[in-house]
């Protein structure tokens, strides 16, 4: 490699780094390295002022490589790629060295060791940058259309939002009726808005948007193509089965959840008088004057929370909505008859945010909340004299075991992931440990999946309230808009490339590629592998498998990684 001109910035991160790493020593250790023409420390490298200084420095010193040693690239890789671009430097000549998460925060007890490690990481980053080359993002023309899978509250709202952006929308619903769970709900928390009315309102909005095609009794049966231009096949069931094909730029998955079905005997489920929250809500709706169950007046209701959720070895997650929904239901009950006694047996009450007000209101209306210890869950039984009795331990009164003779036991059941195997396989959707679909990052990229152009919204991603589902549906709309509204999308050039001369088409790479990006082509009468850059995600799986070392990953080439490692170990080991 010819001579390079590299600038290096070592960030204090306020004190997050400099409290544990001697940043001046790091600078001094790298300032005189070959190809390093500028090195300095900075209080906050990501601050506006420092970014301006960097741009000025890149231009003034004609830098052709940039290294910032700061936080995780997950946080600021795009920030400094942007700095490079604005300074006229190819963004892929930029390298980030993570000396915060991987160094200062991890070694708060060893300043000397942390400083040494930081020097190694920065030297490695400089070595990698020496081997870097300018890369150009691929431009892909995109189709101004979206497919929304699932017409529940999130899917409906997303479809309307996408149409309002001017995109053609295909809204697909597996069942005959749209609206999902919410379409069956009466008044919902926190504002008593009627679920059916909300869905009816959305349907009306849907019908006034001709660019939305609603397909019920339909399922996605095939998908091909790459980001920006997915070919989808939708099978519509019915008297005569038909298929619809379409090209879409993005796909929003909003397939929703299933409710937890308690096992017979679980907290007395199966005993007359033990119902789930959903059944109880239906009972409330059918009892405007006087709560009755099986023709008997209900004087006492006992709620058992977290049934099927937060169970060690079972569904360990929290379903989030159930505490608020139950507390809301109890307010409805007291509105029907304020003299009904209500006992809430809970693990933790999670009426978070403004839903706390509902909890407050329920308490004021006389609901008694009793926390039971994790190891002693309540038990439900019918006694010999036929009374339904819940026995529980009340921590707040000093772990006293109490019997609550009750007329109705409500098992507060949460959400479970829906069975989606076919869809998961077809779209290569990542599924988390809980069985729900996984986003890339819960805060930074909350609706995107690792599959470009495929987004998740609503409760298929994990338990959500109605408003959270709608919000995530709209986030998927915004993300689709950002991808498709320009008509052209840029794809990361960090993809695998084949050195055709070395390739013997053994087929190993095709076997390991999770994205079906690799096919064989004939070049000069020889079969060699070719990689579709629009489909490749740059995971690097094939590069390590190739027995002939014929595949390299742009942006993380073998040469770059070797240089990085050698420089790192030289310092640290």
């Amino acid at each position: 490699m010819s001579e390079r001109r590299i600038g290096v910035y070592i960030c204090h991160c306020g004190g997050n780094i400099s409290d544990y790493v001697d940043v001046a020593a790091v600078r001094d250790a790298v300032a005189d390295l070959p190809d390093v023409v500028h090195a300095e420390t900075s209080l906050f490298a990501c601050s506006d002022g420092t970014q301006q200084d960097m741009i000025a420095m890149i231009k003034e010193q004609h830098l052709d490589g940039l290294v910032v040693a700061s936080c995780s690239p997950k946080l600021h890789l795009f920030t400094f790629r942007g700095v490079s671009r604005r300074a006229g430097l190819n963004p892929f000549e930029y390298t980030q060295a993570n000396i915060r998460e991987q160094c200062s925060w991890a070694h708060t007890d060893d300043r000397e060791g942390a400083t040494l490690k930081a020097i190694g990481l920065v030297k490695g980053a400089i070595a990698k940058t020496r081997e870097s080359s300018a890369l150009e993002p691929m431009a892909v023309e995109t189709t101004s259309a979206s497919l929304v899978v699932g017409a529940g509250i999130a899917g409906l709202r997303a479809a309307i939002g996408l149409a309002d952006l001017g995109l053609r929308v295909y809204l697909l619903e597996q069942s005959a009726a749209v609206g999902g769970w919410v379409g069956h709900f009466g008044p919902t928390f926190p504002n008593d808005r009627d679920g059916r009315a909300m869905v009816a309102d959305l349907l009306e909005q849907l019908s006034s948007r001709p660019t939305i095609t609603l397909l019920t009794n339909a399922e996605l049966t095939a998908k091909s193509g790459s980001f920006g231009n997915y070919e989808v096949t939708i099978t519509v069931h019915g008297e005569r089965e038909s298929t619809v094909t379409a090209t879409v730029g993005s796909i929003v998955i909003a397939t929703g959840f299933d409710t937890y079905e308690p096992a017979i005997g679980e907290y007395g489920y199966g005993i007359d008088g033990v119902v789930t929250l959903a059944e109880f809500k239906a009972l409330i709706e059918s009892s405007p004057d006087g709560l009755r169950f099986a023709d008997r007046p209900v004087r006492t209701v006992t709620y058992v929370y977290c049934v099927g959720n937060r169970q060690p070895g079972g569904n360990e997650y929290c379903s989030k909505f159930c505490c608020s929904a139950t507390v809301h239901a109890s307010i409805e009950v007291s509105a029907i008859d304020p003299s009904i006694h209500q006992y809430h047996l809970y693990r933790d009450i999670r009426t978070y945010g403004k839903y706390e007000l509902l909890y407050e209101q329920a308490r004021k209306r006389g609901s008694v909340f009793m926390k039971f210890p994790d190891e002693v869950p309540p038990s439900v039984a019918r006694t010999d004299d036929g009374r339904l009795v819940v026995t529980t331990r009340d921590t707040l009164s000093g772990n006293i075991d109490v019997r609550i003779p009750t007329d109705l036991v409500v098992l507060v059941t949460g959400m479970v992931p829906r069975e989606n195997t076919a869809l998961t396989k077809m779209l290569h959707l990542p599924v988390g440990g809980d069985g729900f679909f996984n986003e890339i990052h819960p805060k930074l990229r909350p609706v995107e999946t690792v599959v470009d152009g495929v987004m998740i919204a609503g409760t298929c991603q994990g338990p959500k309230t109605i408003s959270e589902s709608v919000a995530s549906g709209l986030a998927a709309v915004a993300q689709s808009g950002a991808m498709l509204m320009k008509g052209v999308a840029e794809l990361d050039p960090l993809v695998a490339v084949v050195a055709e001369a070395a390739c013997t088409w053994c087929g190993e790479c095709q076997q390991v590629c999770p994205y079906e990006a690799i096919t064989a082509v004939s070049v000069d009468g020889r079969e060699v592998a070719t990689i579709d850059a629009a489909v490749c995600k740059g995971c690097g799986g094939c590069t390590s498998y190739c027995p002939n070392n014929a595949i390299d990953l742009l942006g993380a080439t073998d040469a770059q990684m070797r240089a990085l490692i050698e420089n790192l170990v030289e310092v640290v080991v």
């Binding site: 008694v368 000093g398 075991d401």
Partner: protein
């Protein structure tokens, strides 16, 4: 403690029932425990008074009525001052004690007096009228030359009525105490044999009784030591324990003077009603005690009217009934005495005397059914408190 896990059945209506005795704000309590943090009586387990409120909320009636701590509280009001929910735990404790008095009483009279103001007032008026009518019917001629109260109303009538009333009160009180002790002993895991078998047990029981009656009840030790008032009194004579001691010792002084008078008559030293100067020891004791009690009760009434401390910000009807009865009994007694020493033997003295005797009898009759009942129940609870403190 019993090893068997006992399961209590909840009484869903308990809190609403307690709230018929006061404690309007306690529903706001969310068991944060600020009250326990500041309470000078809260011991190492740090759950008093929070747990008392919890018992009410959950509906643990037996636990509440079996709690000695209920009666350990002197309503200093620090808990109510520091309650972030303004649930007024101090007033809850007072209401729970009213509820306990009504629950220990098996006749239902206490409950009627507490929760039905109209019925209560009716009973009070009717009872006073009945005694007045009875004593008027039993009265004879009014001697004119000097005020001869016991010629007008024979001392035997007063004495025997008094003795009958006392016996009735003691029987009712014993029934109440037995209910209470049963609950406390069960809750505390105390068995009778723990107190009577062996010298050590006897000693422990004796120490408990001494502490409960002498140190704590008559000596008001914790009241003096621990319960710094939430609103410190401006003057020493406004300190709650001093005011209470004045009333209590005034009342005891009057009781002793009355009994001495009867005793002197029984032993033939001096017949009841014999004219005597104001410095005559028994008369002097009665006069001083009467003045002290009236002064103390007046201070209490003024403090309640002015709401000058946490304990007096909320006054239940039963508080007024008790104070008013004490006050009219004391004042009518002092006026009767005044009539004795006034020249010309004013005839209103006779009627003041009838009023005094009738009201005093009413006060005695109602001891187990009203706030006065704390003289019966508090020492019992303090006895259990002392037993708990002397546990190995």
């Amino acid at each position: 403690m019993s090893a068997v896990i006992e399961v209590t059945t909840v009484d869903p209506g308990l809190l609403a029932d307690i709230q018929r005795f006061g404690a309007a704000d306690v529903s706001a309590c969310f068991s944060c425990g600020n009250c326990s943090a500041i309470c000078p009586l809260s011991n190492n387990d740090g759950t008093f008074p929070r747990r008392m409120i919890r018992y009410g909320q959950v509906g643990l009636r037996d636990e509440l009525l079996g709690s000695k701590e209920l009666w350990a509280c002197y309503h200093c009001g620090l808990c109510s001052e520091s309650c972030p929910q303004r649930a007024d735990p101090g007033e809850y404790m007072a209401a729970a004690r009213r509820y306990a008095i009504a629950s220990y009483d098996r006749t239902g009279l206490a409950r009627a007096l507490y929760v039905h103001p109209a019925v209560g007032s009716g009973v009070l008026v009717a009872l006073a009228a009945a005694f007045a009518t009875f004593f008027t019917l039993m009265s004879g001629a009014e001697p004119r030359h000097s005020l001869r109260l016991f010629s007008f109303l024979p001392d035997s009538v007063v004495h025997w009525t008094g003795i009958a009333v006392m016996i009735a009160v003691v029987l009712v009180a014993l029934a109440g105490v037995s209910t209470m002790v049963h609950g406390l002993a069960r809750h505390e895991g105390v068995h009778g044999r723990d107190l009577v078998v062996g010298a050590a047990s006897w000693r422990r029981a004796w120490r408990g009784a001494w502490s409960a009656v002498a140190v704590e009840s008559l000596g008001q030790k914790r009241f003096r030591d621990d319960c710094a008032d939430a609103d410190p009194a401006e003057h020493w004579y406004e300190k709650r324990w001093i005011v209470h001691a004045t009333v209590m010792w005034g009342f005891i002084g009057l009781l002793v003077a009355t009994m001495l008078d009867y005793g002197l008559s029984l032993t033939g030293v001096r017949a009841t009603g014999t004219p005597e100067p104001v410095w005559y020891p028994v008369r002097l004791l009665g006069t001083v005690a009467g003045l002290a009690m009236v002064a103390g009760v007046t201070t209490m009434i003024v403090s309640r009217l002015r709401r000058s401390n946490q304990a007096s910000t909320f006054s239940h009807q039963s508080d007024w009934v008790f104070l008013t009865l004490l006050w009219v009994v004391g004042v009518s007694g002092l006026l009767t005495e005044l009539a004795l020493y006034l020249p010309g033997a004013p005839s209103w003295g006779y009627w003041m005397f009838v009023a005094h005797v009738s009201l005093a009898m009413e006060l005695l009759v109602l001891v187990p059914f009203m706030k006065f009942a704390h003289v019966i129940y508090r020492p019992v609870a303090l006895f259990f408190q002392s037993l708990a403190n002397t546990k190995a």
